[in-house]
Amino acid sequence: MPNMPMGFRPFLHPLHGLLLAFPVALFTFALLTDIAYLQTAEIQWSNFSSWLIVGALLAGGLVLIWSIFLTIAARHRAHRQPSLIYAVLIAIMWAAGLVNAFQHSQDAWSSVGVTGLILSIISAVFALVASWVAHRTVRETGR
C-alpha cells in the first residue's frame, strides 16, 4: 500500500469499500427522489425511491455484517473505537432504511410523507458519515 506506515493497512478491504459505495450512493439518491416526489407528487419518483432503498439494504446488509466482524476483530487494537463507531453508524443507517422500505410500501402520498423523508435523511446522513469514518481510519496489523 502506498504511503501507508509499516504495520498499518486501510481499514476497509477493497471489496468492503466497494459494497459500502452502494448504500452511500443509493440512500443519498433515495433522499433526492423522495424530495422530488414531495415537490411534484409524481408517483414515479416514489417508485424510484422504493427500489433505491431496497438496493441500499441488500448491499448495506453485507456491509453491516462485515462491520460487526471488524469490530470484533479490532477489540484489542488501537482502532477499536472507530471500528465500533463505524458499525453503530452502519446499523442505524440500515435499521432506518428497513423501516423506510416498509414506509415506502404504503400507497400514494403515504409512501413518503414526513416519516419517509425523515427516515431517508437519517439513512443518507448515516451512510455518508459512516463512509467518512471508515475511509479516515487505518487498521493496525499484527507487529
Partner: protein
C-alpha cells in the same frame, strides 16, 4: 396439507409487523346504512391474513335449513359470473385478467402473498354451458359454449343476443335457442378501458327496457398510487347504448364495481363495490348501492361520503364535497363480487324480496371476513334491515375451501347459482324437495 403455511406466514408477518395494531375492534357494526367507521390506521405492514386453500373433501357449503346445496359442475377453469338463459341453461364465464406490471418491490411481494390464497388453475378464457334438465342439481350436459375469449366476466342476455364483457371489450353473440355451442363469431359492441387493468373485471347488466348496457370498470390502483393519469375512465360505470355502442359515464369515483344488477321493484341500477385497502382492518366498508346517474362516490379523494383519504395528494376539496354516501355497507374487506336480486315470489317465503351478495373474502384483515353469500332483505325496493348469512362454510379451520364470486337467481327453478373460483365449482342452492319415491 397442514395448518403450518398459514401459521408460519402469519408469524412472519407479525414479527415484521411493527404493525402490532392489526386487530379489529370488537363491537363495530359495519353493515347497513350507517356503518361505524373507526379512525384510520396506516401501519408499516398492513394487517394480512391469507386463508390458504384446502379442498371440500366431498362436503358442500352450508345453506339454511330447508335448502339443499349441490355442485352443478366441478373442475372448471376459474368460474366468475353466471347467467341463466331463457331455456334454463346456465352459462359460466371463466377467466383471469389483469396485466399491470409490478412497479415497486411491494407489488412483487404482495402479488406472491395474494397468490397463496388463489387457485393455481389458469383462467379458461371461455364460457361453459351447463344444462340440468332433470333438475337434480347436477349438470348432465356440459359444453365449451364460447372459447378464445379474453378474461370474460360480465354476462347479459337481451333480445336474443348474448353479451359478454371481456376484460378489454364488450362482445355480442347471436343466440340460437337450445344451442350448446356458439357457432357465430362475436361482434365488438365497444372497446372497454383495459390499460394495466389492475382491477380487470368488467361487470355487466342490461337496463330494464333492454336499450342500455351497464359496464363496471374498476380503478387501476388501490388509491391512485399508479398516478392519476392511468385512472382516466376508471372507477366508473359506463352506460352503453345497445344499438350503437356509444357510451357515457353513468357514475364515477366508484372504486371497483364488481357486479351490477337491476332492482326488480324500482328498475334502478344497483352495484356492489369494493372499497380501498390499507387504512386498517375495519376501513373501508365495501358496499351495495343504487347507482344514481351522474353521481360521484368519492374515490380516490374520500370514502363513505366525505371521509378524506390522507394518501391522496393533491387533494380535491370540490370532489370531496361532491361525494355521496352509498346506500348500504356490507363490511370491510368482504370483497363483494356477486349481486343478484330475487324476482317474482323469490327463493322462498323468507327470501322473497331482496338481493344475494357473494363475498369473496379479502386479505387485509386478520379476522377473516367475507367468504360467504349473504342475503340483504329489501322492502319497497330499498334495503330494509340487517343482512343475514345465506351460504357459509367456505372457511374451515382457517383454510379456505372455496371463495364465492358471482351469484345468480334462477327464477324459473327458484334456485341460486353460486360460482366458486377457488374450488372451481358452480354450486346450486335450491329449496329441498320431498324425497323422491321410486
Amino acid at each position: 396439507m397442514s395448518i403450518a403455511p398459514t401459521r408460519s406466514l402469519r408469524t412472519a408477518l407479525f414479527t415484521l409487523a411493527l404493525a402490532g395494531c392489526g386487530n379489529s375492534q370488537p363491537g363495530l357494526d359495519q353493515t347497513g346504512a350507517n356503518p361505524d367507521l373507526p379512525a384510520q390506521r396506516q401501519t408499516l405492514v398492513p394487517p394480512i391474513r391469507i386463508a390458504t386453500p384446502k379442498g371440500w373433501g366431498g362436503e358442500s357449503p352450508t345453506a339454511p335449513q330447508g335448502f339443499t346445496v349441490t355442485a352443478l359442475a366441478t373442475d372448471l377453469k376459474v368460474p366468475r359470473q353466471t347467467l341463466v338463459l331463457p331455456n334454463g341453461d346456465i352459462l359460466v364465464a371463466e377467466g383471469s385478467g389483469g396485466s399491470a406490471p409490478p412497479m415497486r418491490p411491494k407489488d412483487v411481494i404482495a402479488g406472491y402473498i395474494k397468490s397463496m390464497g388463489k387457485t393455481p388453475e389458469k383462467g379458461g378464457n371461455r364460457i361453459t354451458l351447463l344444462r340440468d334438465a332433470d333438475g337434480d342439481g347436477e349438470a348432465e350436459v356440459r359444453t365449451a359454449f364460447i372459447t378464445g375469449l379474453n378474461a370474460p366476466y360480465g354476462l347479459a342476455f337481451v333480445d336474443g343476443n348474448l353479451y359478454v364483457a371481456n376484460q378489454d371489450a364488450l362482445l355480442r353473440f347471436p343466440y340460437t335457442p337450445g344451442a350448446t355451442r356458439m357457432t357465430a363469431a362475436g361482434q365488438e359492441v365497444t372497446k372497454l378501458p383495459s390499460r394495466l387493468n389492475h382491477h380487470w373485471t368488467k361487470a355487466l347488466t342490461a337496463s330494464a327496457d333492454g336499450t342500455k348496457l351497464y359496464v363496471g370498470v374498476g380503478s387501476n390502483s388501490n388509491v391512485g398510487e399508479r398516478g392519476m393519469a392511468v385512472e382516466e375512465d376508471r372507477a366508473v360505470i359506463w352506460e352503453i347504448d345497445r344499438a350503437t355502442g356509444a357510451h357515457r359515464t353513468f357514475a364515477s369515483g366508484i372504486r371497483n364495481p364488481t357486479a351490477l344488477a337491476i332492482n326488480p321493484q324500482t328498475q334502478a341500477l344497483w352495484s356492489v363495490v369494493n372499497e380501498r385497502d390499507e387504512l386498517g382492518p375495519q376501513l373501508v366498508p365495501d358496499y351495495l348501492t343504487s347507482v344514481r346517474p351522474g353521481a360521484f362516490y368519492g374515490w380516490p379523494y374520500s370514502y363513505w361520503g366525505n371521509n378524506i383519504d390522507p394518501r391522496v395528494h393533491p387533494q380535491n376539496q370540490k370532489m370531496i364535497e361532491k361525494a355521496i354516501r352509498p346506500d348500504y355497507a356490507l363490511g370491510s374487506h368482504v370483497a363483494a363480487l356477486g349481486l343478484s336480486f330475487v324476482t317474482g315470489a323469490g327463493l322462498s317465503p323468507s327470501f322473497a324480496q331482496g338481493a344475494f351478495v357473494g363475498q369473496h373474502g379479502s386479505w387485509n384483515r386478520q379476522d377473516l371476513s367475507g367468504y360467504k353469500v349473504v342475503w340483504v332483505p329489501f322492502t319497497n325496493g330499498r334495503p330494509a334491515g340487517k343482512s343475514v348469512d345465506f351460504l357459509t362454510g367456505f372457511i374451515k379451520n382457517g383454510h379456505a375451501r372455496g371463495r364465492p364470486v358471482g351469484v345468480t337467481y334462477d327464477p324459473s327453478r327458484r334456485s341460486l347459482i353460486v360460482a366458486d373460483d377457488l374450488s372451481n365449482t358452480v354450486w346450486r342452492v335450491a329449496p329441498a324437495r320431498a324425497t323422491p319415491t321410486r
